[in-house]
């Protein structure tokens, strides 16, 4: 879709304006937009050539856009207008893409439901009683509903790959450092990745070519050359060795999902892949979510200390600096993240750090070592991205439950953030008319392998350009 759109130069203006109109039309159904961006200015400045020329896209609202309000889903930033563009915004502009909206997200990216945005929850286009998942829920909805072919998200624990599963689209988290994080409002710096959604693997390849590359302003960004992913795409699975994450399958109670997944594995075998079940240590798998929470909360508490109402953002009144900061942060932050900050701060206290924060960082290394052992023998690790379809919004499930199902089956994808390895979610099948995805993780900087396996899955399922029917 993207390549065709870019080639169709004359159709650019019409296409972008239609997308803009559709986004506005769907807003009352899905509530997936925080700020609409009139594309008029950008359409005037389109380059002559570009891999994404005239392609309408959406940016998660934690992406800084110069002159355009950027809120990160939080009330405290509801008036913040950046003075600079994130690196990826500059890259997208050079490629000719036009962004038409800043999309809804969990407040400060700290959530997995997209129910904590200060503008209200986002609704799943496949079934508006259900959540999109988060934190990149708004972007996922806009791609799933066919408004745009590509939307930017961010993935710190699974915030692109989980909503992709719930919304029946492709969700990509490339290798850490592959895409510059400069200008992305930070949640947990050592876990944050810029990610994105598309509706086909081909579009995912083009998008990564546009977004990837070294940026000196982000000292963690990679110097490696960016391959021509599109040209290298090859779904031939002969000689490929794929490891099924046994612990995840074992802990999914929904047998329909298990069957759907196993059928897919048989199909992959039929295509020539060697697919084996691989088990990690169960205790290790249980420790992934806790380690993620601790590292993420601790880093986030520090990262969000700049949000004080003094230089930008919503400032509440007070008699002195302390009162202004306290009032601004109390009114500006939702209850969930205030609680998470307290926990994060607790983990960083000098007397606690060894036991809590550093312990979690050590567990992180043990997890990554275990992944490395697996990826020495196998080219990819695969498992369902979730055991179930998107939960009902009113079901009030406890996201933090310490059950094995919740810990292992629903929250294992943080492994991809611990290791920084590239990981992708691709639609797998349907239950009750709602989609479920499958997740594939490969070695560092081997996005080509990741795309190849994903393409093979896409060919098996036929789920290309899946769009939710909008009534």
């Amino acid at each position: 879709m993207i390549a065709e759109m870019a080639a169709d130069k004359n159709g650019a203006e019409k296409r972008v304006k239609e997308a803009y109109a559709k986004a506005q039309e769907y807003q009352s159904k899905f509530n997936d937009v925080i700020t609409f961006v009139d594309p008029e200015e950008q359409l005037k400045d389109l380059p002559a050539e570009g891999l994404m020329r005239g392609v309408p896209v959406v940016l998660k609202d934690n992406v800084n856009t110069k002159g355009i309000r950027t809120t990160a889903g939080s009330r405290i930033l509801s008036t913040y207008v950046p003075v600079y563009d994130a690196e990826i915004v500059e890259k997208l502009r050079k490629a000719g893409a036009v962004y038409i909206a800043k999309s809804s997200m969990d407040e400060l990216a700290m959530g997995g439901t997209n129910l904590t945005c200060f503008t209200g929850p986002a609704y799943n286009p496949w079934d508006t009683r259900r959540m999109t998942g988060g934190s990149s829920g708004g972007s996922a909805a806009l791609v799933a509903s066919g408004v745009v072919p590509m939307a930017i998200g961010s993935d710190t624990g699974d915030s692109v790959r989980k909503p992709a599963s719930f919304c029946g689209i492709v969700g990509v988290k490339p290798t850490y450092g592959r895409i510059s994080r400069y200008g992305i409002i930070q949640y947990a710096s050592s876990l944050d990745h810029v990610g994105y959604f598309t509706r086909s693997i081909e579009d995912a390849c083009v998008t990564l070519k546009v977004l990837a590359g070294r940026d000196d302003r982000d000292m963690t960004s990679s110097n490696r050359e960016v391959p021509d992913y599109s040209a290298l795409l090859n779904s031939d699975m002969h000689g490929r060795k794929i490891a099924v994450l046994g612990n995840v399958i074992k802990n999914i109670s929904n047998q329909e999902t298990v069957k759907m997944f196993n059928d897919l594995m048989d199909q992959l075998r039929a295509k020539g892949a060697q697919v084996d079940v691989y088990d990690f240590d169960e205790n290790l798998m249980r420790a992934i979510l806790p380690a993620y929470f601790i590292i993420a909360n601790c880093e986030a508490t520090s990262n969000d200390s700049n949000l004080d109402g003094i230089r930008f953002g919503v400032r509440e009144d007070g008699e002195d600096m302390a009162e202004i900061m306290t009032n601004s942060r109390t009114k500006g932050f939702g209850p969930l993240i205030r609680r998470r900050f307290v926990i994060g701060s607790y983990g960083l206290f000098e007397e606690n750090q060894e036991r809590i924060f550093r312990k979690a960082q050590k567990v992180r290394r043990v997890v990554v070592n275990a992944m490395n052992d697996c990826l020495k023998e196998y080219d990819a690790i695969i498992a369902p991205a979730s055991g179930n379809i998107a939960p009902l919004i009113n079901a009030n499930e406890d996201q933090d439950a310490l059950s094995d199902e919740n810990l292992i089956a629903e929250n294992y994808m943080a492994m991809g953030n611990f290791s920084g390895y590239p990981s992708i979610t691709v639609p797998m099948g349907f239950e009750e008319g709602c989609p479920i995805g499958v997740n594939i993780t490969c070695r560092a900087f081997e996005e080509t392998t990741m795309f190849d396996v994903a393409k093979a899955v896409e060919e098996i399922t036929g789920y290309k350009d899946l769009q939710a029917e909008v009534k």
Partner: protein
């Protein structure tokens, strides 16, 4: 000397982070703290003897440092664009007593 992790404790912690919690929110945190203890138990079940913390996903050292040349300045107007009150190009706060 372990402090009791009750409502008052968390309210104090929050205040140190420059925000407040309501009674309900602090009570909620008391419960979540219980979950944290459970999470710690799960972490402790993993043997990390002799394991170093993993601070970055990739630990390759870099040689890059930025050249000492002016590369990015914004105007005073841009710097002040996100606030209402300014006095002669300064950000304004009510009097700070240190």
């Amino acid at each position: 000397m372990e402090e009791k992790k009750d409502r008052e404790y968390f309210k104090k912690l929050a205040h140190q982070l420059m925000f407040d919690l309501s009674d309900e929110e602090a009570d909620s945190l008391v419960r979540e703290f219980g979950t944290l203890e459970g999470q710690m138990a799960l972490l402790d079940a993993v043997n990390t003897d002799g394991v170093e913390e993993m601070i970055y996903p990739f630990e390759a050292e870099t040689a890059f440092v930025r050249k000492d040349e002016v590369s990015n300045v914004i105007t005073q107007d841009e710097a002040m664009a996100n606030v209402d009150k300014k006095i002669e190009g300064h950000f304004v706060l009510p009097k700070v007593v240190k």
